[in-house]
């Protein structure tokens, strides 16, 4: 199958040896297998225009993203390329709004949300980044100590 550069989207014939040293056009070294039929200009162009004219409002796209997170759907590539800027903003906001006190990325890799740990009495754990959360009930029901 032909390879497509994921940055400049140039397409290289099946077995093209030049890409072994990176994309000759932009130097990128990530490529995607593409089917021959997706090379036909018709459907590809259609997808792009549909995505561009979609014009989802930021609130709505945020909501969709959250729903996707809850359902554990991974963001599709098209979404990534279209919503590059709002994504970055969301990421910045997210740090403050994150509910979990600890995110377990993999065994031995942890991200701690100090604001949440210090300010909330309950402990919420997030597993990976797929929207799975574990709530520690004893910590939720614990009465705050009076001084």
């Amino acid at each position: 199958m032909p390879h497509k550069c994921t940055r400049c989207e140039s397409i290289f014939k099946d077995g093209a040896a030049i890409i072994l040293n990176g994309c000759p056009k932009c130097g990128w070294n990530k490529f995607l297998y593409v089917r021959n039929d997706s090379l036909v200009p018709g459907p590809a162009a259609k997808i792009e225009t549909a995505a561009n004219t979609g014009q989802i409002s930021p609130e709505a796209s945020n909501f969709i993203r959250e729903v996707d997170e809850i359902l554990g759907i991974k963001e599709e590539k098209t979404e990534l390329t279209i919503k590059n800027e709002p994504k970055a903003e969301n990421a910045a906001k997210e740090v403050g709004d994150r509910i979990e006190s600890i995110r377990i990325l993999s065994p031995g890799q942890y991200e701690l949300n100090l604001e949440s740990l210090l300010e909330r009495k309950e402990i919420v754990m997030a597993l990976k980044e797929d929207g799975t959360y574990i709530v520690n009930l004893p910590s939720v029901f614990k009465k705050k100590k009076d001084h």
Binding site: S101, I102, P107, G108, Q109, Y110, E111, L112, N113, L114, E115, L117, L118, E119, I123, K145
Partner: protein, 210 residues
């Protein structure tokens, strides 16, 4: 005989009740700032004991340790404290970092897990404290998320803070940088390792937590 014994016990309980409350002081800070080195020095100087082991690998202290009844005498005034040495507070703990220090993968993962639990334990202790010695590495940039967040939280809890700008034995240390970052709190530049300025720290401890 039994009644007297019981009475005796009751007396000791009464004595405890009327005894002046001691201040509980937590030693906090990011990993590898020198918290345990400082705790060791304080406890060794005033009681002759040691607090915990130190290491150049971060997160060596993964459980909080408490030493009761450390009486510090400075300038004629004495203050009795409970010293709690806490695990380093971090926002990200990754076992790969420990592997770069040559620890095997399994041990690195275990250390990462324990270090994460340690951060939570440090936070839990906050509810029970009367003051905090915040240890910062004076060779590092003080404007970190950890420092800013924990200082903000200590302030919200109205906990008195004394900043120990540690590692002044190193040539590239800059306690002034920490002072300008957090000018609202008293600061003592120290070297917990070689004991430089440690008397000044005791004086400040006696003044602030006495």
């Amino acid at each position: 005989m039994g009644i007297i014994k019981r009475l005796g016990l009751n007396f000791s309980w009464l004595k405890r009740l009327f005894k002046r409350k001691k201040a509980k002081i937590g030693i906090y800070g990011p990993p590898n700032a020198g918290k345990t080195t400082l705790a060791n020095r304080i406890v060794r100087d005033w009681t002759g004991d040691a607090m915990g082991s130190v290491s150049h690998i971060p997160h060596e202290t993964r459980r909080a340790r408490r030493r009761e009844d450390v009486t510090i005498v400075s300038n004629g005034s004495s203050v009795t404290l409970d010293i709690i040495d806490t695990p380093g507070i971090a926002t990200k703990i990754d076992f790969h970092d420990f592997m770069t220090f040559g620890l095997p993968e399994e041990e690195s993962k275990r250390r990462a897990k324990e270090a994460t639990e340690g951060v939570m334990e440090s936070v839990k202790w906050l509810e029970d404290l009367d003051g905090v010695i915040l240890v910062m590495d004076a060779t590092e940039d003080p404007y970190t998320q950890v420092n800013v967040v924990i200082i903000g939280n200590f302030e919200a809890r109205k906990l008195p803070i004394l900043i120990a700008a540690n590692k002044i034995d190193l040539p590239n240390s800059s306690p002034a940088r920490i002072q300008s970052a957090f000018p609202q709190h008293p600061l003592v530049p120290i070297s917990a390792l070689d004991g430089k300025n440690i008397d000044l720290l005791y004086k400040e401890i006696a003044e602030h937590f006495g």
